[in-house]
């Protein structure tokens, strides 16, 4: 059945064929289901709640002797919490959310079904990557960042400097994307969800430990990135060595994507 029958044929090359249809399908998972608002509530509570707690609750707390519980600048503490703990929480969240994306499709047979149509394997993988990155950025990061920025502004009594805050959020996005790419790559390479979760968690939690013992190694990984994001958002001068994770993290993410595409191209059903 072709144009002769009045149909307009889908065109595309070995990278893009089927991408549009699959991207729409993956987008539906975020925007045509309750996922977007469930995730929005979760991350608003976690990230904005954390900032609100540090800015408005902790300063009111006093120790039994009547002294203040925290002596630190609440804005600095809030930014450290938002970027440091938030970075870890987002990495765990995206790993949990994405661990099933490819494994479930491979096991259920839906991947085989879709790939029996004129669909390139690259399009199948990239549609997931792009759609979930968009969802993650908007719902899990942009929305809570907006909330956190509003609280910082309210607390300061004047707009908090936007550019450094946005730069810090960009680094947080880079860190979360690293785990999204890692999880999707593992979804291509392995058949078990537990392995994906284990590898991602070891990377996340082990990385936090390793950076205390091998700080130089940590600089070429994303493990410092959330803290660097916090410093950037505070407007602090960055030591030159802290530029390394900013360069290394996207490179790692790119490597994961290339490995995933390469292995998925040869994946056997």
């Amino acid at each position: 059945m072709t144009a002769a029958n009045g149909f307009e044929r889908v065109e595309g090359n070995s990278w893009t064929l089927g991408f549009g249809n699959l991207f729409a399908r993956e987008n539906r998972k975020w925007w045509a289901s309750r996922r977007w608002w469930v995730q929005a509530v979760i991350w608003l509570v976690i990230l904005v709640g954390l900032v609100g707690l540090v800015l408005f609750v902790v300063p009111t707390l006093t120790a039994p002797d009547g002294s203040a519980v925290s002596q630190e600048d609440p804005i600095m503490s809030a930014l450290q919490g938002f970027f440091g703990l938030g970075g870890m929480a987002l990495a765990i969240g995206i790993t949990i959310l994405m661990q099933d994306e490819l494994v479930a499709e491979k096991q259920a047979g839906t991947a085989e079904w879709v790939l029996s149509k004129p669909v390139s394997r690259a399009a199948f993988f990239l549609a997931k990557l792009v759609a979930h990155t968009t969802g993650m950025l908007l719902v899990m990061l942009a929305l809570p960042s907006l909330g956190a920025y509003a609280l910082l502004t309210v607390y300061s009594g004047a707009p908090y400097p936007l550019a450094p805050f946005l730069a810090g959020v960009a680094l947080l996005a880079m860190h979360t994307f690293f785990y999204l790419a890692l999880t999707l790559m593992l979804g291509v390479l392995v058949e078990r969800r537990e392995v994906i979760l284990a590898v991602a968690m070891v990377s996340l939690l082990g990385g936090s430990l390793i950076r205390n013992f091998l700080p130089t190694l940590s600089l070429i990984t994303p493990w410092f990135l959330p803290d660097v994001g916090g410093l950037v958002a505070m407007g602090a001068e960055l030591p030159a060595q802290f530029l390394l994770p900013i360069v290394a993290t996207p490179i790692w993410s790119l490597v994961f994507i290339i490995v995933a595409l390469r292995f998925f191209r040869r994946y056997e059903f």
Partner: protein
Amino acid sequence: MDISNQFVIETKGLSKSFGEVHALKSLDLAVPRNSIVGFLGPNGAGKTTAIRLLLGLNQPSAGGGQIFGLDIASQNLEIRRRVGYLAQSPRFYDDMTARETLRFTARFFFRGPKAKIEARVSEMLDLAGVADKADRPTRGFSGGERQRLGIAQAQINDPELLILDEPAAALDPMGRQDVLRIMEQLRQRATIFYSTHILDDVQRVSDRVVILNRGELVAQGPVETLLAGEQGVVYSLVTHGEPDPARQRLAAQPWISNLHLAQINGDYRWTVAVNDPAAAQAQLLRLVMQDDWIEVLEYGQQKLELEEIFMRLVQENEK
């Protein structure tokens, strides 16, 4: 006729190994245009592996093949534009309804116009008998309903070649009849290559069969040729009484090509292959009955069923 145009599927030495397991061993396949070809074999024979290789879902370990003259390994995207495929256990996104599933499938082939796509979707829902369930999410579908939806999605692009892996496996007798009816309707427009265990169906609708066992091609050819068998016409008799003198008389006849005698519960079953049916018709029974102690309980020309041929070929292959 141009040879390359005569066969829709052609493979040469197509092989697939998974580690030490040789799932498919040097398959030479030739599927003529506009034929219905039954792809037979016991479980684990390599049928699904062969089908996945044809569609580019797996890569061959050796050999190769062509569909529509296009290489199955390097040009499989173009091949899949022109093929409809039904997997052995079809699975769809369970949050989608049947209609959404077909619309989603159609959009891999066509960008528009929307009205035509919708019309095609409705047509396929009707054809496969799932129109009344069109707006139900597929998560609640039974195996048979999924199979019907699978048949509908396989035809959404009006393919030149339909590859169906066990299309009637999960269907009730009514569903099976529907599938056979659809296949017969499509005979004029498409080539159908399907694997199955239901040999009655193959005998009923197929032009040709391909038999696979343990990854090896055992036989392929027109159904009639296979049913005629290598032995030609075969007579079957059941007698009571000492058979040896009669056996010696028959063994001396030049028109008998093969003679087999088996004792069953005190009676004797004779299987007599002949190369001159006229001579056999005139003399066989008379030669047996020359001994007056022999009582003939059954006599007739054996009509082989595909199942017998299949079992025989598979068993011979396993020796």
